[in-house]
Amino acid sequence: MDNKNDNTLIEIKNLKKYFSKNTGFFKKKMQHLKAVDDISFHIKKGETFGLVGESGCGKSTTGRTIIRLYDVTGGDIIYDGKNISHLNERELEPYRRKIQMIFQDPYASLNTRMTVGDIIGEPLDIHNLAKGEARQKRIYELLDTVGLSKEHASRYPHEFSGGQRQRIGIARALAVEPEFIICDEPISALDVSIQAQVVNMLDDLQKKLGLTYLFIAHDLSMVKHISDRIGVLYLGKMVEIAESDALYDKPLHPYTRALLSSIPIPDPELNAKVDREILKGDVPSPLNPPSGCRFRTRCKYAEGICSEKEPLLEEIAPGRFVACHFSREFYEGTKK
């Protein structure tokens, strides 16, 4: 659907992930939480694709579904030409080396009963990558790559700070020499000055090892900094995809515009000058999303057509995709 060429590493096609609950007592009455509802995008080799949205938009679910922590309800995940969405655990094994994940909470993503060395060495053991001395050497190598030292291998996670734990998590992900890493809000739980350290490290690793990233976050300023292209999610739907500079210079979807204008700028005078578009109300429940365009309940441009027909993601300009009935008017500047 969007620009594909041989450079595409992973392509997501019409991905759906629903969580179902049987609310009926005697008869089966299914309630579907449509966490991810038909989204499509692709990521090129070596690039960083940022996925942003607020809570409940489905970005974390997307990441976890791609790595098959959840089963795919519908749609396809095409990795390097192969459709991996319906493979069973055994068939997925080789992909467990190619696709890795870094988690959000540095305090929960490491098993506190294992030493750092064991945590980093576990992937090596599972995939039989190194044994004995070679294994130890590799563990030290990985620790060095993330800026920690050999002595840290025999320590336990609780002896480290948040930033250091996140590095350990990164070292674990790197142990299998992956190609593609899904970063699920990797810096949200860290202090501001440490965030910059980790982001820089991820950047360096990408250049050194030729990694491709899917960077999931809600901190828009940081996402813009690290991503080449960005996708904006709202209530399980992809509303806009663009290159990061273009997205921030000229956001087309009303939600993107509101999102960007809500970010407080760390510059008092600029901040005061900015015309804030403050959205009214809350995000609707994903169990019962609005008909047609899901954003219409909070959109100041909503008209009749918005409740009747769901807008599809269209390529308005090369590389710019927007899902809005008035996207062309916004692009040309003819909409109020």
């Binding site: 467990r96 080396r97 098993n111 674990r172």
Partner: protein, 396 residues
């Protein structure tokens, strides 16, 4: 402000080594921290000490004792651990048994021998003995009256026709806890009972541990229909009371220690499995478990390396609390006669045997009951303390 040459040095850039100096705080692992907290709990420490002592005496006690649990000496039946002795002369003392038998004892309380009466004068309600040449008379004329009026003495001792008072009260040095009706040393039988109780406790616990963890872990981890079925099985098993299992088993196997252990093995693991299942369900959601899945770990690895080690806290507490339960159950079953058989000594059988003479020889019930109570209390205190010490939320 310091003036002079020192001043220039201050404004020099600090070297990297000085900046890099950092004190490394010695930090504790989960178990060290738990031990520290447990130590602070006095009751738990007392419980722990008692348990250790119990193990030591149960293992080594019978080895150094002069009696075995089945040695009988019928003439020394039903002798209390503490009794009054009468002085006949400087080197001879006697003890009067409630069944109106006389024994020679040392002044310290060691039993020497039972005495045969020289003459049994039933008409005058007297028994006449000879102790080392002296004439000793046991006069029990007032026995019947004493039954109605407890302030009257039941019998009188006359040495050489002179009424003698009780000399002193001594502890029984031959049999520390006294003897039972068959003349068996109660002390050693209590120690043997300890062995049985602790054996039952350990075996039952180990069985529970392995079955419970295995079953509960799988049930919780797999979830869905498998979990539902496995939980229903647990529910069904736990609805039938333990006693029923024991009785049903007795139809196949003879009553005894084996039966008790098998019956407990069938029922006790359910509690452990439920706890492990609960822990598994919650730990399953932790991020490091998800991380393990993403690096390709298989189910077995996740369960054994990630889930169970993190569930050990509640597992250990549950084990410690299960032991007093097991001990009591075994005692109870033995008490009602479904447990070990004579001459084996379990605290339950001791208690049961003691019932017959409970009014005259209350000590026979006292010691096994105390043993059960103290042991159970000790494990309960320890378990309570462990629960607090191992609770990760209280950690900081």
């Amino acid at each position: 402000m310091i003036k002079g040459e020192g001043m220039d040095k201050r404004w020099e850039k600090a070297s990297e080594e000085i900046k890099g100096e950092k004190k490394i705080r010695p930090s504790l692992t989960y178990w060290q921290d738990a031990w520290r907290r447990l130590k602070q709990n006095k009751l738990s420490m007392i419980g722990l000490v008692v348990i250790i002592l119990l193990f030591i005496t149960a293992i080594f006690g019978p080895m150094v004792s002069k009696f075995s649990y089945e040695d009988q000496d019928l003439k020394f039946g039903n002798i209390a651990p503490r009794f009054d002795i009468y002085e006949v002369d400087k080197s001879n003392y006697i003890y009067v048994h409630p069944e109106y038998k006389l024994f020679t004892v040392t002044s310290d309380g060691e039993l020497l021998d039972s005495l045969r009466p020289v003459k049994n004068d039933m008409m005058n309600s007297q028994k006449i003995y000879e102790v080392d040449g002296k004439r000793v008379v046991l006069d029990y004329k007032n026995a019947k009256l004493a039954k109605k009026n407890p302030s009257i003495q039941k019998y009188k001792i006359l040495v050489e026709n002179k009424e003698t008072e009780v000399t002193k009260r001594v502890f029984n040095k031959t049999y520390f806890f006294g003897t039972d009706s068959h003349g068996r040393d109660l002390f050693i039988r209590v120690l043997y009972g300890a062995r049985i109780s602790l054996t039952v406790a350990i075996v039952a616990t180990l069985v529970n541990f392995f079955i419970g963890i295995f079953y509960g872990g799988i049930s919780g981890y797999l979830g869905g229909r498998v979990d539902a079925v496995m939980t229903r099985i647990m529910d069904i098993i736990s609805t039938i009371p333990l006693l029923l299992y024991v009785i049903l088993l007795m139809v196949i196997i003879a009553p005894g220690l084996k039966t008790i252990i098998i019956a407990m093995g069938i029922t006790f693991w359910v509690r452990m499995a439920r706890i492990v299942r609960g822990q598994t369900l919650s730990i399953k959601q932790h991020e490091y478990v998800m991380a393990a899945k993403t690096i390709g770990a298989k189910n077995f690895r996740i369960l054994s390396r990630h889930i169970i080690p993190n569930a050990m806290g509640p597992i250990i507490v549950s084990l410690t609390m299960m032991i007093p339960n097991a001990i009591f159950t075994e005692s109870f079953l033995s008490f009602i006669g479904l447990g070990v058989s004579a001459p084996q000594a379990s605290w339950g059988t001791l208690a049961s045997d003691a019932l017959a003479g409970i009014r005259t020889y209350p000590y026979q019930l006292f010691f096994p009951s105390m043993a059960i109570s103290i042991t159970m209390l000790a494990f309960n205190f320890l378990g309570d303390g462990l629960r607090d010490a191992l609770d990760p939320r209280l950690r900081k």
